[in-house]
């Protein structure tokens, strides 16, 4: 009986310790989660399911979803001004990419194919380069632009490539800006963002979101 009492006492002590550890852990995780949420207030990755159901993949929840796409006017590689407003009535995929982005190189051929497939239904892609541009040095600026053009050509991009995407960092990325490439926003014919993707997904995912933008 005495031994049972001792063991029960030890068990209660262990339980109390675990309860305290659990509470402390919960508090820590809550604070960590709040910090993380605060740091990515512009967009959040939540667990999702891969197409084959085998692996959990993150899904990008942008606060822009359901809202009008922020308007912009940027230069293309030929120096022409291109504004998002001029595409009203079309479904538009705004694809933020960079010459140094490996996953973008995998995704871009899919985009080229999908653009050709859906262009006749009123679909267009705007490839917004986020590469740094040195406006203080005309020679470096020309080199920067030439590199973007060369990269776009090598990737076979036949849709408009816009430069100086850094100016859209906050409108599309929130207070912390667009923190990773590729990032895509799918805009419907009324100028509303209907879907967003962060990182390399799959051609099927992109196509699904293009159909959403086309309201198919």
């Amino acid at each position: 009986m005495k031994r049972n009492t001792v063991v029960l006492g030890v068990v209660l002590l262990i339980l109390a310790t675990f309860a305290w550890a659990g509470w402390a852990n919960w508090e820590y995780r809550k604070k960590a989660s709040e910090r993380l949420l605060a740091s990515v207030a512009h967009g959040q990755l939540v667990p999702g399911q891969a197409a084959n159901g085998a692996e959990e993949v993150p899904v990008f929840n942008s606060p822009l979803k359901g809202k009008p796409a922020p308007g912009f006017t940027l230069e293309d590689l030929s120096g022409n001004k291109v504004s998002l407003a001029s595409y009203k009535g079309k479904a538009v995929l705004i694809n933020f990419w960079a010459t140094w982005c490996g996953p973008c190189k995998i995704e871009t051929p899919w985009l080229v194919e999908l653009r050709n497939q859906y262009a006749s239904q009123g679909f267009e892609i705007l490839g917004v380069s986020t590469d740094d541009l040195d406006y203080d040095n005309p020679k470096t600026l020309a080199k920067d632009k030439a590199e973007i053009a060369q990269s776009a050509q090598r990737l076979g991009i036949d849709y408009p490539v816009l430069i100086d995407g850094a100016t859209l960092d906050k409108p599309y990325g929130g207070p912390d800006g667009l923190d990773a490439m590729p990032t895509s926003f799918f805009v419907d014919r009324n100028g509303k963002v209907v879907a967003a993707e962060l990182g390399l997904t799959s051609k099927a995912d992109i196509e699904g979101n293009i159909k959403k933008a086309l309201n198919e």
Binding site: N4, L8, V11, I14, N25, S39, P58, M181, G199
Partner: protein, 170 residues
């Protein structure tokens, strides 16, 4: 458990079970950790914080860095001209001159979705051997490591982190 009554055994088992679940809960999820570092530094300078070298003579210093879990950075010799190489530099006027930096060979890396493309990257811990020449005295040097990091599906913009070393030239 010999000699203990049934209720005591159940309580002990419960205690162990609950304890186990708390311990499991404290293991951070890999994705969340990887995601969090996207917002902070992908690479961390580890050591040395201080070195003593012969003044006026070339000395080799091995700098240790760590790449955050789940990420990789391009090696000094990436296999594509558009990829940004990892480079170390020391600004002029610090009393310490970088004569040469020697980088490790990158490890081969392929993305699951594109196994044909082989990248040359650093992951986990890597070192850069810096051959420096210090003038006599104490110099608080802020070297710079420039890199560009990615995980399996997304890439972060290029970044430069400070590499603070107290160099004593004797």
């Amino acid at each position: 458990m010999v000699g203990l009554n049934k209720a005591t055994r159940v309580a002990a088992a419960l205690a162990l079970g609950i304890g186990g679940s708390f311990v499991h809960g404290q293991i951070p999820a890999g994705d969340a950790a990887s995601r969090q570092v996207l917002k902070t530094a992908a690479v961390e300078y580890l050591y040395p914080e201080q070195v003593t070298v012969a003044a006026g003579k070339a000395s080799d210093v091995t700098l240790h860095f760590r790449v955050a879990e789940g990420l990789h950075i391009n090696s000094h010799t990436p296999k594509d001209e558009f990829l940004i190489p990892t480079t170390f530099s020391i600004p002029d006027g610090t009393g310490v001159r970088l004569e040469q930096a020697t980088y490790p060979a990158g490890e081969e890396f392929t993305l699951p979705v594109d196994p044909q493309t082989r990248l040359s990257v650093y992951t986990r811990e890597f070192t850069v051997q810096a051959r420096i020449v210090a003038s006599p005295g104490n110099h608080l040097v802020e070297g710079k490591l420039h890199y560009q990091a990615c995980n399996k599906s997304e890439c972060l913009p290029p970044k430069t982190i400070p590499v603070a070393i107290d160099v004593i030239g004797k």
